[in-house]
C-alpha cells in the first residue's frame, strides 16, 4: 500500500498553500492518520513556523539529498500530534538544490511509513513546482476568489494536464460570503464553472487565521474558527467521508430566514 502523496500548489503566491498544508496535515493526524509534511519551498521555508516547529530543525531536505544525514534524522516529530512529522526545506539554498528525481526518491522511502505525504509546493511554475509535483498521486490547487489567483490556478491545471497528472481538486481559500452575497466577489460556483474542477473545500476568510499563524498553532485546532472547521472537513473528504460543503451564510437572522421562506 503506502502513503497517498498529495501536493498542495497554486501558481500564485500568498493564496494560502502553506496554511492549507499545515492545517490539512494536522487535521488528518487528528483523525489518526500518520502524516508527513514535506516543505518543497527551498529558500523560502515557512511550513516550520506555521506549525510551530521552527526551533526543532537540525537537518533539512537538502541535507538528505546531499547525504549529510539520513531521512530519519531530518524527520521532525510534532510533540502535540505524535503521528505528524515534518521534513523542512533548506533556507539558505535554492530550488535547484534538488531535482524531481530526488523528490521521487525521498517520497518512495517515506511511503511505507505513512498514510499521507503532504507536499507544500512553492509558488510559480518552475523547478520548485516541478519538484513538488513530480511524486504526487493527487494535487490540491489552492486559489482565492480573485482574477489573478484563478488565472494562475488555470495555468497550473493546464500544466498538470500536459504532464498527464490527475486533474486535481480545488480549495477556494479566503472567500468572504458577505461580499459574494453583495455580488462583489467571485463565488465558488463562478470559480468551479471557469476552472471545470472538482472542489474539495471552501475556506472562509476568518479572523482567527492570522493569530493562529502568529503563534504557530494551526487554526484547525480552534473550535470557534470557521476556517478551522473547513480544513477539518477537507481532511474528512480526503478520507472519503461525505461531508457537505459548509453553509457559509453568517447570520441566519430573522430577515434572512424570511427571504429563504419567500424564495423557497
Amino acid at each position: 500500500m503506502g502513503a497517498r502523496v498529495i501536493t498542495v500548489t497554486s501558481g500564485k503566491g500568498g493564496v494560502g498553500k502553506t496554511t492549507t498544508t499545515a492545517n490539512i496535515s494536522v487535521a488528518l493526524s487528528r483523525l489518526d492518520q500518520r502524516v508527513v509534511m514535506l516543505d518543497a519551498d527551498i529558500g523560502l521555508r515557512n511550513l516550520d513556523v506555521v506549525t510551530g516547529l521552527e526551533n526543532r530543525i537540525v537537518y533539512d531536505i537538502v541535507d538528505v539529498v546531499e547525504g549529510r544525514c539520513n531521512l530519519k534524522q531530518a524527520l521532525i516529530k510534532h510533540k502535540q500530534f505524535p503521528s505528524l512529522y515534518l521534513i523542512p526545506a533548506a533556507q539558505t539554498r535554492d530550488k535547484t538544490a534538488i531535482s524531481p528525481a530526488d523528490m521521487l526518491d525521498i517520497v518512495a522511502k517515506l511511503k511505507p511509513e505513512f498514510d499521507f505525504i503532504i507536499i507544500d509546493s512553492p509558488a510559480g511554475i518552475e523547478r520548485g513546482f516541478r519538484n513538488a509535483v513530480a511524486p504526487a498521486d493527487e494535487v490540491i490547487i489552492v486559489t482565492n476568489p480573485e482574477v489573478s489567483a484563478v488565472r494562475d490556478a488555470d495555468r497550473i491545471i493546464g500544466l498538470l494536464e500536459a504532464e498527464n497528472k490527475e486533474p486535481g481538486k480545488l480549495i477556494i481559500n479566503r472567500l468572504k460570503p458577505d461580499m459574494v452575497k453583495k455580488g462583489e466577489m467571485l463565488s465558488a460556483d463562478d470559480i468551479t464553472d471557469i476552472l471545470a474542477l472538482d472542489i474539495i473545500g471552501i475556506v472562509p476568510e476568518d479572523e482567527f487565521v492570522i493569530p493562529a499563524s502568529n503563534s504557530g498553532v494551526p487554526v484547525t485546532l480552534n473550535e470557534d474558527s470557521k476556517a478551522g472547521l473547513a480544513f477539518q472537513n477537507i481532511a474528512r473528504r480526503l478520507l472519503g467521508q461525505n461531508v457537505p460543503l459548509m453553509d457559509l451564510e453568517q447570520q441566519p437572522g430573522f430577515f434572512r430566514r424570511l427571504v429563504k421562506l419567500f424564495n423557497g
Partner: protein, 151 residues
C-alpha cells in the same frame, strides 16, 4: 428603503464587480488556454472572412466568430450567414448590361432561325412578344438590322 426591499427579496439590480471579475477571467483564460492573444485572434478572423468572401457573399452584420469553452477545451465557433442569391438587387449598370446581353441573345436567336431555314421551328421560336419587345426597346433599328445581317 429600496435597498432594504432588494435585500428582503434577494434582488440585485445592478451586477457587482464579481460579475465583472468572472467575465474578465473568462476572456483572459480563453486566450491563455490556446495561447492566442486577442489581436492575433482578430487577424485570424479577418483572414477567415477573406477566404469565405472569395466564394460566397455573406452578411457582414451577422457574422459571429467566437471562442467557445467546453469544460477546459476551446472551440472556434463561426456563424456566418450567407446572402441568398435573390436578395441581391442588380445595380442600374448591371441592369443595363443585362438588357444589352438579352438583346444580343435575341438577335442571335433570330439569326439562328433564319439559318436553320426549318419550317416548323420558325413559327415556334418567333412568338409575337419578341417582336413587340424589340419594337419597344428600339423603335426603328432592330427590324432593319434583322433584315441586313443574314444576307
Amino acid at each position: 428603503m429600496t435597498n432594504f426591499f432588494d435585500r428582503m427579496f434577494g434582488k440585485n439590480n445592478k451586477p457587482g464587480t464579481g460579475a465583472t471579475a468572472k467575465s474578465r477571467l473568462e476572456f483572459v483564460l480563453v486566450h491563455d488556454r490556446i495561447n492566442l492573444p486577442p489581436e492575433r485572434m482578430a487577424e485570424m478572423k479577418a483572414e477567415i472572412l477573406q477566404v469565405i468572401a472569395k466564394y460566397v457573399s455573406y452578411d457582414h452584420d451577422m457574422v459571429d466568430i467566437s471562442l467557445e469553452q467546453r469544460d477546459r477545451s476551446s472551440a472556434l465557433v463561426a456563424d456566418i450567414p450567407f446572402q441568398k442569391a435573390k436578395d441581391v438587387l442588380p445595380s442600374d449598370a448591371d441592369y443595363d448590361a443585362d438588357l444589352e446581353a438579352w438583346e444580343q441573345a435575341k438577335t442571335k436567336q433570330t439569326q439562328n432561325t433564319f439559318a436553320d431555314d426549318g419550317d416548323t421551328p420558325k413559327e415556334m421560336v418567333e412568338p409575337s412578344f419578341i417582336e413587340d419587345d424589340a419594337l419597344n426597346a428600339e423603335t426603328d433599328e432592330p427590324p432593319t438590322e434583322d433584315d441586313n445581317d443574314p444576307v
